[in-house]
């Protein structure tokens, strides 16, 4: 039986996140977390492989302790085991530091046949973590996969790029990122939902990962974020009321004033 590891991320529910004004990072502890939407198709792809070929599927996530309910929900979808990678030392990691942490955690879960991730996260939108992690693990990176099969000991992926589709055949192990467009994702299982109280994720801290603190967290992150700010309403729209002729004249006047009309 082979092993597939799915890396998932909790992202702040849009509209609930606060920003740390000093570090310019998101204060994830305070936000309501949801499963990064593109991770659901990634889980589905892994679970379909499990259905067909009896792979063991493990979901791992780096994040604060409030990720636990989300990981439990992922367990309810049908994965065999859940891991939370959590340590204060990991806080503020950019994509490179995150990839270092994930790569180390994955090496502890080795041997595996496949690492699956959503193509990008809806909070960062970089799409860098899957290929960075592959590179650190010295494994092939296959990005933007829309379909994945396992035939005679090899994976066959259909990947999408700007120019069309291509079929890629590869031997285990590799890191693939999955595009969000998928026809169907499964609901959670009632049996598993009813047993969630007994299910807790295994926790991996830096004591287990043993990474140099200079290479992780804020200090290990080369990305310098100039500013992150919360959306605020800076100006209100103006509503003009009146007869159509008057309104047309008023509109022309405003457009001239703003320089859109000569």
């Amino acid at each position: 039986m082979g092993r597939i590891v799915v890396c998932i991320k909790g992202v702040p529910k849009p509209g609930t996140v606060k920003v740390d004004k000093e570090t310019h990072t998101l204060r994830r502890e305070s936000a309501e977390l949801i499963l990064n939407p593109p991770d659901r198709p990634a889980l589905e792809v892994a679970l379909r492989l499990k259905d067909q070929t009896n792979f063991e599927v493990i979901a791992i996530s780096m994040g604060p302790p409030n990720m636990v309910p989300l990981l439990q929900k992922v367990y309810a979808l049908g994965v065999d085991d859940i891991y939370l990678i959590s340590d204060r030392a990991f806080a503020g990691s950019d994509t490179l530091a995150t990839s270092r942490i994930l790569a180390k955690a994955l090496s502890l879960l080795s041997p595996f046949d496949l690492v699956v991730m959503g193509a990008r996260s809806i909070d960062g939108e970089t799409g860098q973590v899957p290929p960075e992690t592959a590179s650190l693990l010295n494994l092939p990176s296959i990005t933007y996969v829309k379909e994945l099969r396992f035939v005679d000991g090899k994976f066959i992926a259909i990947r999408e790029d700007d120019f069309g589709e291509e079929e890629v055949e590869f031997s285990p192990a590799a890191v693939v990122s999955i595009v969000p467009e998928i026809d169907y994702v499964r609901p959670p299982s009632l049996k598993r939902l009813l047993s969630l109280k007994e299910i807790t994720p295994k926790i991996l801290t830096n004591a287990e990962l043993n990474l140099d603190e200079a290479s992780i967290g804020l200090s290990g992150s080369p990305t310098q974020v100039a500013d992150v700010f919360e959306k605020t309403l800076v100006s209100r729209g103006e509503i003009f009321e009146g007869e159509p002729d008057e309104l047309a004249e008023k509109l022309i006047e405003v457009l001239k004033e703003k320089g859109f009309l000569a």
Binding site: R186, P187, S189, L190, K191, L193, L194
Partner: protein, 385 residues
């Protein structure tokens, strides 16, 4: 609504799951399925993957081992999203009950695990062209031939015809004995001599499939007999006693949806300078709808709990739950259309669908006239003079 029925944590988890399935796999498509009279297997696949076909299957056969109450909660909330989908779902339980209640150990081991996983859908076939309310007038026969039975006849208006893999068929093994000569059989899709007839065109429940079943020298092994020869109507009537609560639960879900949609409309639709809900003729109608729905729910839930408490004879109770709740759903959905005026009548809005779906509930699984007969018969037994 105004009454929060006390539910256990596991019930709340199940209802939340069904709402998630309803929002994701049903709600965006239900009007389209209705319009096209199309069966879509996607929500059935989702229900299967969510373990919901295993609700009433005993744990030793891979199910959850729940009772009638949980089955009804599931059917109620599924019907809230689409009574067509819930009909496919509930009819499968109708086909599973005979095996759960009367099947041999071998039959249970052979069929229940795949039913629990939702890999195989079930159907229940009693009605024939000349035998509706008068179920004892069936003509289909099953003749013993060595290690086989040979089935001949036609079953009519069978929910899940063609999409089911397992069919419970009631046929006469001894026509001379009349009702006491009927037996229940398990027929599998693909059995020689078994074909599925035309798909019916219906007023409502159009996302579900209803067909004839035709048996033309259909040869099945003798171990497909459920219980013993002559037990056919015992199997059928006991099954219907359990399943009738499911029809009552469908009524609750449809009526709940109709009430919600029409109430939202009445509170926002402005006529004569105010929301129409401000008119007493309208608001009092909603008050009546709420009372009728709440009392129907209280009756269905209490009958389910009565059955699950181990009651032996509950024909009258389940007939009351089915008859009362489905009559209320018919009244509530009709009023919901009226409260929405032209919007209620248009097929762009779901309320007309609720109305058409509700109509069938007064007819199938025993017409409400037959339910009243059953209730009256049981009442007569209760007071002996």
């Amino acid at each position: 609504m105004l009454i929060e029925f006390p539910l256990k944590e596991e019930h709340k988890i199940m209802i939340d799951l069904i709402k998630e399935i309803g929002e994701t796999y049903i709600k965006p498509y239900s009007l389209e399925w209705d319009e096209k009279e199309a069966y879509d297997a996607t929500p059935i696949k989702a229900l299967a993957q969510a373990d919901l076909f295993g609700l009433i299957i005993p744990k030793e056969y891979g199910g959850l081992g729940f009772g009638t109450f949980e089955m009804c909660l599931a059917v109620e909330w599924l019907s809230y999203f689409c009574a067509g989908v819930s009909t496919t779902y509930a009819a499968s339980f109708l086909g599973a009950y005979p095996i759960i209640l009367f099947g041999s150990k071998e039959q249970k081991e052979r069929y229940l695990p795949s039913i629990a996983k939702g890999e195989k859908l079930c159907a229940f076939a009693l009605t024939e062209p000349q035998a509706g309310s008068d179920a004892f007038a069936i003509k289909a026969t099953a003749k013993k031939d060595g290690d086989f039975y040979i089935l001949n006849g036609i079953k009519q208006w069978i929910t899940n015809g063609g999409i089911a893999d397992i069919y419970i068929v009631i046929a006469l093994t001894d026509p001379a004995k009349g009702a006491r000569g009927a037996s229940a059989f398990i027929v599998e899709k693909g059995d020689p001599g078994f074909v599925v007839g035309k798909k019916e065109k219906k007023l409502g429940l159009r996302a579900s499939v209803t067909t004839d079943l035709i048996f033309n020298d259909c040869r099945i092994p003798k171990d497909r007999l459920i219980a013993r020869e002559g037990m056919g109507f015992m199997v059928a009537l006991k099954t219907l006693d359990y399943a009738r609560c499911g029809a009552g639960a469908q009524a609750l879900g449809i009526a709940q949806a109709a009430l919600e949609v029409s109430l939202k409309h009445a509170k926002t639709r402005v006529q004569f300078g105010q929301p129409v809900y401000q008119f007493q003729a309208v608001s009092h109608t909603f008050a009546e709808m709420a009372m009728r729905l709440s009392s129907a729910r209280a009756l269905v839930y209490s009958v389910c709990q009565y059955i699950d408490s181990g009651a032996k004879d509950f024909s009258g109770a389940s007939a009351m739950a089915k008859c009362f709740a489905t009559d209320q759903a018919m009244w509530i959905t009709e009023r919901a259309i009226q409260m929405m005026g032209g919007y209620g009548y248009m097929r762009d809005y779901p309320v007309q669908k609720y109305f058409r779906d509700a109509k069938c509930l007064q007819i199938y699984e025993g017409t409400n006239e037959i339910q009243r007969n059953v209730i009256a018969r049981e009442l007569a037994k209760w007071i002996k003079v």
